[in-house]
């Protein structure tokens, strides 16, 4: 299993995916998890995320989302569900949207093993921080990832 953390850690909650990836790596270093997933902090490099997805393994892509929920709420989407909320594809590779990456994965036949853990953002102003609401959801997200890592083959 691979965890991909996306977002910009210098823009508040936008970097929640990278923060989750870092926390999983810290847990791995402490040796507290029985099975440790591969972790990639892709940040804003959507092509790198696509490259990880193309390794044809179970992928959980963690990213900040706006799903009109309370800040800190999170849910796991299938790739199919994520396609339903497709946004216009951005033109720059550096800002290739998550939906564009998913579309690429779908065309390559990898979406069955791809899921997205989306966290509703609260504060995306410049700065290296998480809003209190998003910070509070970290333990539950880590628990979910640990359970999945220990369950999946």
């Amino acid at each position: 299993m691979t965890i991909i953390g996306m977002g910009n850690p210098d823009m508040g909650d936008d970097g929640v995916g990278v923060r989750v990836a870092e926390l999983v790596q810290e847990e791995a270093r402490r040796g507290t998890w029985r099975k440790v997933p591969q972790v990639v902090a892709a940040g804003g490099d959507a092509v790198l995320a696509g490259a990880c997805i193309a390794e044809d393994t179970d992928v959980l892509l963690v990213d900040a989302v706006n799903m009109q929920a309370e800040p800190g709420q999170w849910r796991v989407f299938s790739a199919r569900e994520a396609l339903l909320c497709r946004e216009p594809a951005a033109g720059s590779t550096h800002t290739l949207s998550l939906s564009a990456v998913i579309e690429m994965a779908r065309a390559l036949g990898y979406t069955e093993r791809l899921r997205i853990l989306g966290v509703q953002v609260g504060d995306v102003r410049p700065g290296r921080f998480l809003s209190p609401q998003v910070a509070r959801c970290m333990p539950a997200i880590l628990t979910r990832i640990r359970e999945e890592a220990e369950t999946l083959p």
Binding site: D10, V40, A41, A42, G43, G44, D45, V47, L48, G50, A51, C52, A54, E55, A89, A90, G91, S92, T93, H94, T95, A100, E103, M104, A105, A107, L108, G109
Partner: protein, 438 residues
């Protein structure tokens, strides 16, 4: 063409980093405007550095760019070490070079396949390519992932590495890391690069056959195809020391761009893969040299569109060079060593240069006697290329009109030109709609 009117505006050039607009205005056969507008706000990194201690500078300047973060960090460290008289070990130099090569592979693969290839294959972006050319996209993703993994194993992270500090590394890669990289380069990257070459050879006729002679600038060394170190070489004027970089860059401002422009012996000069190739071709490694021959590339290459093809040649070169470095490191064994530190802090200035994927990058710092930045200057490759892009456009528009190209073809060709430079517009100070007004 003598009485032709033409107005092309491309408000957002896609598949480049940052935000730039193409503006072409021809009235009654006279080209009034032909330039790339850079409209991004300045980012004030140099001012931001003032007062920071030398230990923090490379970590901050790394954030100038997410693609060239390794190049910025390495150049920054070299400038700081020169200013503060810090001597680094041979092992540190070898590992930094290896990291620079990994970052070059990563960036070149990104540009060749994800930015430039869609133009050659007639699709708007890489996303439709996944459906029509899945094996190509899978190969490109595989190559990019491996290059990112190399940076991760050496620098601690795929982007913005955190193990590089003034004087050395906080954590060294293991022997197993180096063996893994070597194995993967041989088993995966070399075959994929060869397959890429075969593909690009087929697509090469789709590069516009446009040529414009200009000055080509890049680092040059008598012993190697220079990326990490060397003197500044110009195809017009020869070699100068890096300390004299301001005499080469000659920055100036223009009304249509928030990025400064540069010129040296002519109205503009070219940096990037072509700048390196045209100054270092004889020192390419064997596979790279053979790739250049297969693609028909001989110095001096004057077609800016072929910058992309030369990037693939350089991908071979850095792979071969990485294998050599790994063999040296493995034969000597990785030695645990603490980063070198400066002696007594004193005032000092250091200017250094590294070849990053988009061309020669300069960092220049002045420190006070507490080791804090007093003054900083960073001149990035895209800043050096913006005037060259404008000059190319000025020559390209009549060239296209002579060939009776349609407006759509001209617009695409102009975009391809900008993309060929692989510009990093945000660093020099996103997406494409086209509007014609005649």
């Amino acid at each position: 063409m003598s009485d032709a009117n033409l107005h092309i505006e491309v408000p957002y050039v896609t598949r480049v980093e940052g935000h730039g607009n193409i503006v072409i205005d021809m009235r009654q056969g006279r080209l009034v405007t032909s330039h790339l507008e850079v409209v991004e706000p300045p980012r004030y990194f140099e001012a931001m550095l003032k007062g920071f201690p030398y230990s923090d500078v490379a970590l901050i300047t790394s954030r100038i760019c997410g693609i060239c973060s390794v190049g910025h960090q390495v150049t920054s460290l070299k400038a700081t070490e020169k200013a503060l008289d810090i001597t680094i070990s041979e092992q540190t130099v070898l590992l930094r070079k290896l990291l620079v090569y990994g970052a070059t592979m990563q960036s070149h693969v990104l540009h060749v396949f994800f930015l430039a290839a869609p133009d050659l294959l007639g699709v708007p972006s890489v996303v439709p390519l996944a459906a029509t050319h899945p094996d190509v996209v899978k190969m490109a993703l595989r190559m990019k992932k491996l290059a990112n993994d190399i940076c991760d194993r050496l620098g601690g992270r795929t982007i913005h590495p955190n193990r590089l500090v003034p004087g050395g590394f906080t954590k060294l890669p293991s022997r197993a890391d180096l063996e893994w990289i070597r194995d993967m380069l041989v088993k995966q990257m070399v075959p994929d690069a060869k397959a890429s070459l075969a593909l690009l050879k087929k697509l090469a006729p789709k590069f516009p056959a446009f040529e414009r002679e200009t000055e080509y600038i890049g680092l040059a060394s008598p012993t190697e195809y220079a990326f990490y170190d060397g003197k500044i070489a110009s195809t017009d004027t020869g070699l100068v020391e890096v300390d004299d970089y301001l005499a080469m860059t000659n920055e100036f401002v223009v009304p249509h761009s928030t990025s400064k422009h540069c010129r040296h012996a002519r109205s503009s000069y070219f940096v990037g893969a072509l700048g390196r190739f045209n100054n270092n071709h004889a020192l390419l490694n064997p596979l790279a040299k053979a790739a250049a021959t297969e693609l028909g590339l001989k110095p001096v290459v004057k077609n800016p569109f072929l910058n992309t093809a030369v990037q693939l040649v350089e991908t071979f070169h850095v792979v071969e060079e990485s294998l050599k470095l790994i063999d040296i490191l493995l034969s000597k064994g990785i030695k645990e060593e603490k980063p070198a530190v400066p002696g007594k802090l004193r005032e000092g200035r250091g200017a250094e240069a590294t070849e990053v994927p988009r061309g020669i990058l300069f960092h220049d710092y002045t420190y006070d006697n507490r080791g804090q930045v007093v003054k900083a200057n960073c001149i990035i490759p895209t800043t050096q290329n913006t005037q060259c892009i404008d000059d190319d456009m000025t020559a390209l528009v009549p060239w296209m009109m002579d060939r009776d190209m349609s407006k759509d073809q001209m617009t695409l060709t102009l975009e391809m030109l900008v993309r060929a430079y692989d510009p990093c517009i945000s660093c020099s100070v996103h997406f494409l709609d086209v509007e014609f007004l005649e």
